[in-house]
Amino acid sequence: MKCAPRALAAAALLLAPTAWPQSSPEQQAKSLLDDGRGYYAKGQYKQALDNFNTIVSGFPNTESVDDAMLEIGRYQAEVEGDIEKARGSFESVAKRFPQSDSAPGAYYHLGLITLDKARSGAELDDALAQFTRVQRLYSKSDWVPRALSAIGLVHRKAGRLADAVETQRRVTLEYPTSDAAALAQYEVGHCLALLGDARGAMEAFQQLRNAHPQSEWAARALERITALYRLSEGTRPFFSHDTGWSIGSGDVLKDVDAILMTPQRTLWIASNKVKAAVPFDKDAKMGPSLGAEDLRSLSLTPKGELIVASRLAARFGKDIKSFSVPTNKPGEQEPLERITAALVLPGGDVLVSDLKRKRVHRFSPRWEYKGPFPDAKEREIVRMAQDGEGGIALLDADEKSVRVFDENGKPLRAIATKGAGYELKKPADIAFDASRNLYLADEETGVMLFAPDGRLLAALPADEVKKPRALTLEPAGALLVYDEKTQKVLRFK
């Protein structure tokens, strides 16, 4: 049936309207950019990348192209982990679009890349220079509060905690509604905690909760306050056995070498009886396990992936890796066959402790051998832990001590075999809380808590845990201990 011409025109008009606002390249590019950012936020990285690439190739003369290039750089850094590619993208944005809104973002990300890898004072200064450039050259940009907060991170990494507090405070005072404000306030609390000002830290975390109740940092602040309150308020740190709590049963709790609580409150139990690392969610429901022989230790990568170290290999997320190190003979490699622990450092390097060679070995992110850590001295390292501030603790079963080194191998502090109020006889496991307090499980003398300066802060009563073999901490500071004697995981809140 033919429509009358007037009706046809009306129908055409009805069909057409949404087409008009999308017609310009500028608007199309903007739409792709907004959608791409939305995908990225939801974790749909491939779709996001497709959008950004389409803008760069299909709309190269629009105002969105610099933003797209910046987002591509972010993808390369955060998703692909290809730092060099990311650096190239950011440098390209800064060079080609120096007056754009994205230029300060490029410098900011370049600063983050530098900060991430920085191990020396000079490298930290480089990172600082990038962030300061954002402040000075783009003083009205939205990136300024983020850059200022990043300067605070530089100070923290350099150990200048008071400067870090002051810088982060400036972000919260001068840019209270920026998207950097919540993190900055968290950093104020964190740095105050590292400085030993527990009350100041709690107050700062509470200010975060008051000012940014919906932010992801608010929940973390609650956990930090709880942990700090437990340790600092009252006359001594207070732990009481949570008798109403239990987890797992049967063979899972037999022959356990390690336990680990993730930030998402999943408790992993490495049981050599069942030859698997078994997860339990926050409702104590068991999940699919990861099978392995001779399980030794559990830890997390900086991105939060599980590391399961077993005697012959280590699993990093989904990848299983065995390790070889050069022998005295040139060109010859020897596999590591008595692995006790594995760690991934913030810069990407991997540390693997081996009892056969009695050394900790360092590998690059591409698994290239870099040498012994911290030095060539022989040590029987059975556990390794990171304190969150660049400190790497090595538990020496032979020396019965804990030594903390920085990433460059410089010694920072130590827990000696004997000290005021304690003696280490058979140390089995270590863990740090967010304030760098060290928890140590000694199969003979029990569970102890040490301040960052090595002072004993507390010890669990001996009758509460018979033979502590492994321990871990909940995000809010409650302590979980595997008692080998009773074959139970005990909770102390």
């Binding site: 002051e166 001068e174 509604t177 008051n210 956990e223 709880t226």
Partner: protein
Amino acid sequence: MRRPKALALAVLLALPPAARSLAQSAAEVQEMPALQELMAAALNEFSGAQQSRSIVQWDELVTRLEALRRQAPLSPRAKDLLVQAYEYRARAYYGTGLQDKAAENFRALIQLQPQHALSKERVSPKVVDFFNNLKKDLVGFLAVQSKPAGAKVSLNGEFLSLTDFFPLEVLAGSYQVEITREGYKTETRDVTIAPKVTETLEVDLMRTLARFAFVTEPAGVEIWMDGELRGTTSGTLAPDQHEAARAAGLEPTRASARFELPNVTLGAHQLEFRRKCYETVKRGLEVPEPADFDAPPVKLQDSVGSLQLSSDPPGALIFLDGEAMGQTPRELERVCSGKHRLEVKHASGKFVQDLTIARNESLSLDCPIRPSLAFLGVVAASAAGERLVKEAEERLVPDLAKIKTLNFLTVPRELLDRLLESERVSLKGLIPGPGNEPDTIRRVTEKLAAALEVQGFLIALLPEERLQRTAQLHLLAAGNTVSDPTSVTFSESASYLRFLSAVDQKATAYRPWSGLITVDTLLHDGVPVLRIVPGSPAAAAGVKVGEVLYAADGQPVKRTADLLRAIETKKPGDRLALQLRAGAAPRALELQLGVTPQEVPLNDPALLYNKVMIDLRQQVDGYPGTETAAFARFNLGICAMHFGDFAAAHEHFLKAKVELPNRPGLSQGSAAYYLGVALERLGYKREAAEAYKTASAYKEATLFNNDGPAVAPLAERRAGGGS
């Protein structure tokens, strides 16, 4: 010597307006300057060696004036010119020996103006005699007497004189004589005047209207008859009438002089006696006969009320119906009843209201002073947008007038143009942005604000865009150099709501305060007290660190947010009931909330900082010397920092540092710290370090509010060169 035209014009202009306009036809008005000039030239010629040469000019003058006379009766001035023209022409002819011609002209003159006489001083006796002899044959005399005298006598409709008059020269002929006097019946007589003969008329006029005399108390009373104003009493009563006035119940010293109201027609009338601030008196009047009457005295009762005015802030100037009446707070007594326009003006704004006061009413009025915002108009960024300026203005103004917390007013275009022209700046030049000098904007807006008595401005800019349906509203506080731009869409009232809501948000420098610092933990059912600010309400109430707060005003407190919410709903001075637990032992406390000053957030995208500045300036101007003003000035410094104007910030903090109290919390030390920040941003590093050092001495000063971070450690770091 003045040019004749100018002289003529001067003569014309010298005449009173009434005379100029009397019976002047349009043609006469147009011709008069030329005629004046011709008269002057003719007189000049006449005075010269050969009088006869002036005849040509007199001819022209007579011709033109007679032509005008044929079209319409001449005005007295024109008639006078014609009379003079005839006289001089006649004399000129006489001088040349053409007596017939002279006689002809003299006759024409006499017919035109029978009473005309030649000046014996200026004219030769021969000519005078010649003229008089001619006249004798042409004129007679008429005398009219009337009872009462003072009647107007007209001959054939043309006014002659007022009775009683001696015989006047009248051209011989027959006339209808009309004798009229207001209040009397008009009499007409037919009379024939023969040359050299005197006719006398005696007329008794018959009265037709009454006359009333009034005395009022007070004087200055308007007398309205049948809805028409007939006069106003005035003066003072003659002493010989005091007794009679007293007997009539009047106070003689306040009574008016006798006021005579003539020409009152017979019959019934409605009288009203009105005077501002007095009760109107109404009377009926019955006039039985045309006679003189003395009306009973009229006493008006005063009709006033009183007005008690107060304002916030006080010390505002009061203007009632445009008249200055002092400052608030003030009681105005004897305010006339009726409608009034009240304006209460302060440096920080004004209050305007139309009000009505009834007799004996005592009206109390609080006059909250509001800053005023002037809408200066719409400008287009491009030529294409010019066509939409008018439409934009018509759509914008009604919506913008909904602003509640400011007096919103539009500025007459001519006034604005004049003001801008005097400063050599365009309206677009007042919108901060590239190409517009901040110093010019500051200077001009300050001057405009003073001239218009406003505190801020709103300018709408139509941006360059295809659709041309949006406007960018630039809100600018007087003297500021950076505006707050907001985009609105004409047809969408939702877009205005956002702007209006932001404008109507009032900057508050204070909020209720407890001094109780609690934290959230997963260890407690309630919130443990972490810290108590010394000297705070919580300290005074006896709250202890470590106690766990679990209820406030009977409502459970599970998180600190619950406590903060409970406090926010209250006012300083209100009480808050707390339920606490120390160990297992519960206890109840009552806390009286104090007040903490509050910093304006430095960069809050939801705030219109220019509006915040207008509010803060109101506090500075309205409460000088008070803590309120000091904290407002402190916050003005914060606003200046928001705009990147660190020089202005420096000035504000310098003053605030002196004005603020030295005590725990937001105080002098806080201003000292920000002074350092401003100096640092201005590049004065050494002075900044000094300021920080000074600030670090204020051990109990805080930033943000009384619970905020301590100034001393921050200042110490920055004094030491921390970044």
